[in-house]
Assembly symmetry: C2
Homo-oligomer: 127 residues x 2
Amino acid sequence: MDRLDATFTALADPTRRAIVARLASGDATVNELAAPFAMTLPGISKHLKVLERSGLISRARRAQFRPCHLEREPLDAAMSWIEESRRIWTERFDKLDEHLRDVQQAPASVQYGARRAAPGTRGQAND
Amino acid sequence: MDRLDATFTALADPTRRAIVARLASGDATVNELAAPFAMTLPGISKHLKVLERSGLISRARRAQFRPCHLEREPLDAAMSWIEESRRIWTERFDKLDEHLRDVQQAPASVQYGARRAAPGTRGQAND
DNA sequence: CAGCTAACTAACCAAGTGGTGAAATAGTCG
DNA sequence: CGACTATTTCACCACTTGGTTAGTTAGCTG
């Protein structure tokens, strides 16, 4: 399983997102994390295992407690992936704007839905 | 199912992330999307349904084609959620730095592990 | 109309998920 | 040691997921 797979999988559950949000403001033990939820401890334990496997959290050992700690890196990686897609998406629309400006300058040669119009038809030297 | 649940679930699969990345640079038909994958068309169709249910993509009808289009809003929402957690995480460490500066100025009164040290001790006017 | 293509639905399967209660493990305290 | 607390593992359950093949629907085109 890929790292991003694991991260997004971990974030796909509301209980786990709540745990991540809680850990963002400070480390906590399993019991502390379980308190807000109407769920048994083994249930929480499973969620924590998913979070740990994804790298989103790490767990230390302090006496019989196992405090959980949020790791920043996987969160960053997930955000970077989304940002990259958004960047491409946005760039495309910038180019579309540019193209529309061109079309407005020479409107005769193109029309909506012309399927055979290859993208490079601009250089047909009709000037 | 919550909207963020659906978005992160959709992004948790590598095939679906590849589809999203592909659609970021332009709309495409189901066959075009399926081409890069060693998977049957119904398989792709299922993935597209997951993406559509999450709102990440929408589908139009043009003749017998059903071109897919990437929607920006769910991507934004997912990123905002991550950003918010990161913000809280970061703020906490800024406060920790601040606290450590305070401790260096008046090292006698606090020691590691003192759990009762409230975060607002800055206003003690010891300069 | 028949035939072709794009895409979907239906039925099925193996594997995974999210939850439970009961029992086990690890560490502290009297 | 024995009791208590924090946490995990185990065995089980219903349900979902990701994939398949086979068949179906929708729309173009000769």
